[in-house]
C-alpha cells in the first residue's frame, strides 16, 4: 500500500502514514475550515489499511498543539477506527503535548477515559 503524506499548513498538521513501518503520525495545528473534508483522505486510507493491509505492530504519534472542536470530534472517530482494529493489531498510541498546553493534555485524558481498551500514552515534553 502507498504511503500517504500531507504537508503541514498554517491551519493543518503534517500527516505521515507509513504503510510498511506501521507508523501513523499527525503533527502541528488542526483548525481547518472544513475538518471532515480535510481528514477524509486520511480516514479512507486508514480504513483500507486496517482492511488487511496493516502490519502486526502499529505506532501512532499525535502531537497537535492547537485544534478546534470539530478536530476533537474527528479524533474520536479516528480513535474509534483504532479501537475496532485493536484486536488484530498491537497498537500503541502516543499523545504528545507540551507540558504548558493544558488543553492538549486534557484532550488526551478524555481519550484515555473513552477508550479504556486502547494503549494511550500521555507524553509530555
Amino acid at each position: 500500500m502507498e504511503n500517504l503524506i500531507i504537508e503541514e499548513t498554517k491551519y493543518t498538521p503534517r500527516i505521515v502514514l507509513d504503510a510498511n513501518e506501521g507508523i501513523i503520525e499527525l503533527k502541528g495545528k488542526s483548525y481547518p475550515e472544513n475538518t471532515f473534508e480535510f481528514y477524509k483522505p486520511m480516514m479512507e486510507w486508514l480504513e483500507e489499511y486496517f482492511d488487511g493491509n496493516a502490519p502486526e505492530k502499529i505506532v501512532v504519534n499525535i502531537e497537535i498543539i492547537y485544534f478546534n472542536s470539530s478536530s476533537s470530534k474527528l479524533f474520536f472517530d479516528f480513535f474509534d477506527l483504532l479501537d475496532e482494529a485493536k484486536d488484530e493489531h498491537q497498537i500503541e498510541i502516543n499523545w504528545i503535548y507540551d507540558e504548558e498546553n493544558d488543553s492538549a493534555e486534557e484532550a488526551g485524558e478524555d481519550f484515555i477515559e473513552d477508550f479504556e481498551d486502547l494503549t494511550i500514552n500521555l507524553v509530555s515534553k
Binding site: 470530534k73 488543553s103 486534557e106 484532550a107 473513552d114
Partner: protein
Amino acid sequence: MKSSTIMSEGDSVLIHEIEELQSSFDKTTKKLIKDIKRQNKIMTRSDKRQKREYDELQNRLKEVQKLQLAQKELLDSFIKLIAGAIDAKSHYTGGHCERVPQLSMMLAKAAHDAHDGIFESFCIANEDEQRELEIASWLHDCGKVVTPEYVVDKATKLETIYNRIHEIRTRFEVIHRDLTIEALQKKLAGDDESEVDAWLAKEHQELVEEFKIVARANIGAEFMKDEDKAKIHQIATRTWVRNFDDTLGLAHEEKKRVLAEKTTTPQVEKLLSDKQRDIIPREHFDYEEYERMGFKTKVPKFLYNRGELYNICINAGTLSYEERFKIQEHIHMTIRMLERLPFPEYLKNVPLFAGAHHETLIGTGYPRELTKDDMPIPSRIMAVADVFEALTASDRPYKEPKTLSQSIKILSFMVEDQHLDGDIFRLFLKSGVYLEYAKAYLKPEQIDEVDIEQYL
C-alpha cells in the same frame, strides 16, 4: 424449544425480526448515548479552552498596552533627550527646544478653541493629533545637533574656534614697536628728539584708534556702512614684517592651503588680509540630493571664508554668508532626520510641521521657499512660537532679553512683512496666550504693559 411448538411459523419470524430490531436499536442507542457524551465532552472542553483563551487574550492585551505605554514613554524621553542635548550643546540657545513646544501647544489649543476665520476647520481631534504636534515641536530644531558650535555661538566676526582679534591685536603691538624702533633709529641718525617724540606719539595714537575701529567692527553690533568698510580696507594696508615660517605647526589640511601661497621670509605682510588659505572649499556636497529634498536656498560656493577683511566687513551681526547658510542647514538636517524616521500613520506630519518653521508666507523663507498655502496651521504656529521664544529668552549671554511689548512689536513687523501669519499673531494676542506664556517663562521685569488693541 418448547415455545416453538405453541408458536406459529409467522410469530417465530416476527419475534426474530423484533429481536434483531431490538439489538440494532440497542446498538444505535448506545452509540447515540456515547456520541452525546462525547459531544458534551467536546463542548465542555471547548468552553473551558475558550475561557482560557479569552483570559489569555485579555492578559496579552494588558501586556501589549503596558508595552505600548512603556514604548511611548521611551519615545517621549528620547525626544526630550535630543531636545535637551541641543539646548545643552549651546548655552546661547538655552531652553529653546523645551520652551517652543510649550508655547506651540498653548497656541494650538487656542486655535482649537477658536472657531472663526482660518480656525473654523482647525481642531486637534484626538490625543494622537496632539501628540503629532507635540513631537514636531519638540524636534523642530533636532538638526542643530550637527551645526558646528562655533557657528551657532559665533559671538564676534573674527571668531573661528577662538576670537582672532587677539592675533590681530598682536600685529598692532608689532607695528607699535616697529614705530618705536623707527623713532629710536631716527634719533640715532641725529634727528631732533622732541620732533621724533611728537611724531611717535601721533603715530601711536593713530594706531591705537585704528585698532579700536577694527575691534568695534568685530563686535558686529553696528551696521557696516560703505565708508566703514573703506576705513577697514585702508587700515588693512599697514604692513608688518613676518620673519617666521608660517607653515610650521600646521595640520596637513591647513598646510596644503598655506603652501599654495607665498611663504618665504622675511615677508612683508598686510595688517589685515583675505588670504587664499582662509577659504575652505565646499567638498562632498550632494547637490542632487539637495534638489531632490526640495531645498531651494542658494548654496554658497565655499564652505567657509575666514578671510579677516571679509569677516570684519560683514554688514550686520557676526555671521558671514557661508556661516548663515551653515546655520540654516540645521533645518535641512531636521527634515532629513525626521523624514528618515518610520513614523506611524498618525505621526506622519511631524516632518512637515517641524520642518517649515523658518518658511515665510511669501516664499522668502527657507529651506523650501514655501508659501502660506503650503504651510499647515501647525507649521505657522511653530514659526510664531520659534521667533517669540527667541526674542524673549533671557538665557542668552549675547543679548539682553526683549520686553513683552518690544517682542510683540517685532512680531507685528514680521507679520506686516508676511514673514509670520497674521491670523496666528492675532490669536496669540486675543486668546491671552502671550500673557499666559509671559507669566510662565519671562522674568517679571520683562512683562510690561502691552496695548494689544493696536495690533488687532
